[in-house]
Subunit: 323 residues, 2 copies
């Protein structure tokens, strides 16, 4: 199976306000451990010759199962105190893709997305319909409460208390300037891999934004916005203010700059994060692997949970701006 | 208000199996009349100096209200005999966008999409949540039965009878080759406009595919797939096998080929329809206007309902391959 082509894997666990100065050693350790576990799950498959798609799915499943990250178990709460999950995956070889949106009882949304891609004529299934499909595919289902964690419930309560305070203030002073909603965490998890055959795959999974309502869907399940992969070009997974990544068609824009303007992965990511998403007012980050196996990660937030294994086969993790 | 910049409007009412040989004169006339009515609604606004966004919304509302087209009233039925509608709109000036997915009681989904863009911090709202938002915005709501037409119900029955026959056949002969599901109509409506100020807008609205299930969402509400607009580059609206347009990130791919590879609108549309969507196995069409006001329409189906008003201010409509 092994050829001279390099294998590589890069993952993220969300971009956000993580700063070394406010991070305890314990908190840092458990997050780095979580990232390491996901890298091991994915990279061991690549080493054994499995396709990039399998590595992406395995890494993301591990992050979904880990309550520390905003995807699967540990997802943020909606306005109505539920967990609603989105995920997507794309195969750079066939340009096939699958996604699920607003699902509430599928234990691993990334696996559901892969089944949509491989076992249905569709790309994007949503809500109860997606769950009916998952049942038919015999995917493990859970109660919605499975995804709930106290940390996220506390976060929702904080955000809702703040929202209420702003509403009260606006009632008393209709012209008062209310500072906009500040998400405390721009969580999403994602992975990009390239296998021995040069096949690239990318996937992303999320609980969305805390306190979301109105059936809001972000960039995560949208092919071209949160996830994109094309053999010979690049694989991309994004995290951040989903709305800005949709408007910038961020993942596909990076691919287009590389394919049509000859940008390197690094330059294309920087252009899109700082000058497209950033210029529109959005924050977040992207990870990616180009067709030679080169890895890049860029973000305009203080930190981004991330990890990678490149040509040297060594596991690396990082959280803050410079490490 | 009037300057030397040209205004232009192009619309489509879906691509599909329309052939002159099987079209009655009456059927041709009512479709051309429907397209003309939508062009008038949109173009009169452009002439009066209203923004491209208003023209796009007005043209699409007219097509949504017309039972002949698969959007709003006259939408195709889902597997469960309901009408579930998707729409999106994008403003090329601000790169703001709005979309609704799987809505069932909003009379004009394109207007809901515009309100998501202008009155919410979100881009994409779905299902009951989107309807709650629409209620809050005081948008006209209707019963789901408002959208139903006998023609579409008959079509669903035909498709479901065929599906059942295939299932029976497969029960008797498990290895029989069942021909894949053939949608009878690749319906969607869409519009692209450029106003006196050079602002470009694009929008798309649809009932999706007949007999759809599992909360399937196509390319129509996905920014970059079914709809995209960027001032100085292009506005695009697509129609066809949504899954292939998502995988090709079709609308944004056309924009990228123009912006980064210097393709003309015509060449970029042909590349994407024939060599991207087409190569993946998909059929459909796209309409667009470039930053100089030039209009192009391309499709790989026998026909596409379409209409346009260019620099000469004359209303044109066409249905078949060559007229």
């Amino acid at each position: 199976m092994k050829t001279s082509r390099p294998i590589a894997l890069v993952i993220h666990g969300g971009a956000g306000l993580m700063r070394r100065s406010t991070f305890s050693k314990d908190k840092e350790k458990i997050h780095r451990d979580g990232l390491t576990e996901a890298l091991r799950a994915g990279y061991s498959l690549l080493e054994e010759g499995y396709p990039a798609l399998d590595a992406v799915e395995a890494a993301i499943r591990t992050l979904e199962d880990n309550p520390l990250f905003n995807a699967g178990k540990g997802a943020v709460f909606t306005h109505d105190r539920k967990n609603e999950l989105d995920a997507s995956i794309m195969d750079g070889r066939s340009l096939k893709a699958g996604a699920v949106g607003s699902v509430t009882i599928i234990k691993n949304p990334i696996t559901a997305a892969r089944l949509v891609m491989e076992q249905s004529p569709h790309v994007f299934l949503t809500g109860k319909g997606a769950e009916t499909f998952a049942k038919k595919m015999k995917l493990p289902l859970v109660k919605n409460s499975y995804f709930a964690t106290q940390v996220q419930l506390d976060d929702l309560k904080k955000v809702q208390a703040r929202e209420k305070a702003i509403e009260e203030k606006l009632k008393r002073h209709p012209n008062a300037k209310a500072s906009p909603h500040q998400p405390t965490k721009l969580g999403t998890v994602g992975a990009v891999a390239i296998d021995y055959l040069g096949n690239i795959a990318a996937g992303t999974s999320t609980g969305g934004t805390v306190n979301k309502r109105y059936g809001r869907v972000g960039d995560t399940p949208l092919i071209g916005a949160g996830t994109y992969a094309k053999n010979g070009v690049v694989g991309i997974s994004a995290t951040g203010d989903g709305e800005y990544f949709i408007r910038a068609v961020a993942a596909h824009e990076i691919a287009a700059l590389m394919e049509y303007k000859g940008y390197s992965l690094e330059r294309a990511q920087k252009e899109v994060i700082h000058h497209r998403v950033g210029k529109l007012g959005g924050t977040g980050g992207v990870i990616g692997i180009d067709s030679t196996g080169k890895i890049a990660m860029n973000f305009n937030t203080p930190g981004m949970y991330r990890g990678w294994v490149g040509a040297d086969g060594k596991i690396n993790t990082a959280i803050f701006g410079k490490s």
